[in-house]
């Protein structure tokens, strides 16, 4: 540590690079916010403006009055919450089964599921579309929710977490005569709280930010999620830079806030997924 006083030059370099990197990472987001508050046309001026000459919220109001943004916001929120809640339940039960019950073929089954992670989701999309069409689920919330209700990655994350919890806890509960579902619900779920929060953030962000599948399965504009609506609007309103930036802010802001508040859990999740993978 005594070396630190002599090494101010490397420290300066490290902080300079970090500051430059952080600025490059944040600049597009900062400009998005600034441009969304500019009077119409100001984002297309030369030299480019970094800050609005007068702050206006008219583009945000226009999104809700002239365009159907409230609807998209509702769709995105509903889908993200529904998939998160249901998949958390289903994945945690499966992860619990893989971690704490012994049955024939368990490990081979788990290995098989992990190996399937290399199959890109796009391979499934065409038949999945046809399958959901048979069930009448195209252009419904179910078309997004049902295929997202179980995820191999989610099961994996829960299993890894539960492996570290001693079996003796469960045995004690069984001695007391608790039923298996009771044990899961009142012992395992509370024990898993941190990893469940992590998985909840992952899932919520994943559904909120997803683009390709909602684009395919939600065909009517009243069903669009924010990203699908935004991609669609950005074609029609390509000239309305400030309006599009306001739309981008509203799409990005909820998930950024969620991340900033729960960042500890999110980062821990990436590390767990990364280390054990």
């Amino acid at each position: 540590m005594s070396r630190r006083s002599y090494s101010w030059l490397p420290a300066l370099l490290v902080h300079g690079l970090l500051a430059a990197g952080a600025m490059l990472a944040l600049a597009p987001l900062a400009w998005m916010l600034a441009a969304s508050l500019m009077p119409p046309g100001e984002a297309n001026s030369y030299p480019p403006r970094l800050w609005p000459s007068a702050i206006t919220f008219e583009h945000y109001t226009a999104l809700f009055t002239r365009l159907d943004l409230a609807r998209y916001l509702f769709n995105s929120t509903l889908l993200a919450i529904a998939v998160t809640v249901i998949s958390l339940l289903i994945n945690s039960m499966a992860g619990y089964a893989f971690a704490k019950f012994r049955f024939r073929g368990r490990d081979r089954l788990f290995q098989g599921l992990l190996a399937a992670l290399v199959i890109p989701a796009q391979v499934t999309m065409l038949p999945l579309f046809l399958l959901l069409k048979q069930f009448g689920l195209i252009n419904t919330y179910g078309g997004v929710i049902i295929p997202g209700m179980a995820s191999i990655f989610g099961i994996f994350l829960i299993r890894q977490y539960l492996l570290a919890i001693p079996d003796s806890l469960l045995d004690a509960a069984r001695m007391d005569g608790a039923g298996e579902f009771r044990i899961y619900w009142s012992l395992i779920v509370p024990l898993c709280r941190p990893i469940l929060v992590t998985l909840a953030i992952f899932t919520f962000l994943g559904v909120w930010n997803d683009f390709m599948w909602p684009l395919i399965v939600l065909t009517d504009s009243s069903m669009y999620t924010l990203p699908v609506a935004l991609a669609n609007l950005s074609g029609e309103h390509v000239q309305d830079t400030e309006l599009m930036m306001a739309g981008s802010v509203l799409t990005v802001l909820p998930v950024m806030l969620l991340f900033v508040i729960l960042q500890k859990y999110y980062i821990a999740g990436i590390m767990l997924g990364g280390m054990k993978g």
């Binding site: 499966a94 391979v123 990203p227 950024m256």
Partner: protein, 296 residues
């Protein structure tokens, strides 16, 4: 009365059943159906009337291999993977080393700032970057003009469109791998560095002979995940260039989407999806193989 072992097995399967059923129906079944579909001429007529469906063997695959557009999409995707992947991994590692450096104060703040693009919505930031790349009013050209660089038509110039998309993609996702690298770096025991310093090793030697070898498994994981993800590039070209100009940003997944869901050539599109899958699998095997050879 059933024995405890049988009871455990039954309970295990019961907890597993919902997830297994869903994964079987909505993942494994479609994968197999996609393979079957790729050997048929499933098109818009078959969508209306399944009687029109015909088995055509490998015709879709042969047709793909003879399609100039498919080869262009393949080439563009390879460009994106081969240039964008390593660039992203290198920047992630650099950022992780800086954030994790023992010289750094306030590393949590830097980490959050560098990570923030990861949680943003790809479509939204792609829309933002489209304006940043504007040849006349865009911030990027303005910044470059301060250094005397002539304006570049980033998304309109066939030679610049793919680099522009790569730059945006790297900005968006390097933070994710940075976190994994930070975790890997923190797993390296500090006494190793202390011993090396006592032996007079400089910073580069410490990096080369301690950090890099011990980061090996993390590095492999990050490289594989990044490569697999980059092979699937779709939303960036969809939003920013629609595959243009002159198909220079048409990716395999974008081609699959257009063929399958715009023109309803679902048999043909399934074949394209399987070629992509085969390529991802082959590239994954190759990386694992190289790694094994490297470590032995």
């Amino acid at each position: 009365m059933i024995g405890p072992e049988r009871h455990a097995a039954l309970s295990g399967w019961a907890f597993l059943a919902p997830a297994l059923l869903l994964i079987a129906v909505f993942f494994f079944l479609p994968v197999m159906a996609a393979l079957a579909l790729s050997f048929t001429d499933f098109d818009i007529y078959a969508l209306g009337d399944l009687q029109r469906l015909r088995f055509i063997g490998f015709d879709n695959y042969l047709q793909l291999l003879q399609s100039p557009l498919f080869w262009i999409a393949l080439g563009n995707t390879a460009y994106f993977v081969v240039v964008g992947g390593p660039l992203s991994v290198a920047i992630s590692l650099g950022a992780a080393l800086l954030v994790n450096s023992r010289l750094t104060h306030g590393s949590a703040w830097f980490r959050t700032a560098l990570f923030l693009p990861v949680v943003t919505t790809l479509v939204a930031v792609a829309v933002v970057w489209r304006y940043l790349y504007h040849p006349r009013y865009g911030l990027l050209n303005y910044g470059l003009s301060l250094f005397g660089v002539e304006p570049i038509d980033w998304l309109g110039d066939p030679n610049w469109a793919m680099p522009a998309i790569i730059l945006m993609a790297v900005w968006k996702n390097f933070g994710f791998n940075m976190i994994i690298f930070i975790a890997g770096l923190q797993n390296i025991p500090p006494p190793l560095y202390e011993a090396a310093r006592i032996d007079g090793a400089n910073a580069w030697q410490q990096f080369r002979y301690i950090t890099l070898p011990l980061l090996g498994p993390t590095f492999l994981f990050v490289a594989l995940m990044t490569m697999i993800g980059y092979f699937q590039v779709f939303a960036e070209p969809y939003v920013m260039t629609q595959g243009g100009p002159a198909n220079r940003t048409m990716s395999v997944v974008l081609l699959m989407y257009e063929e399958g869901f715009r023109w309803w050539n679902m048999g043909y599109a399934s074949a394209a999806a399987f070629v992509l899958f085969a390529l991802i699998l082959a590239a994954t095997m190759l990386q694992l193989q190289l790694r094994r050879r490297g470590s032995s």
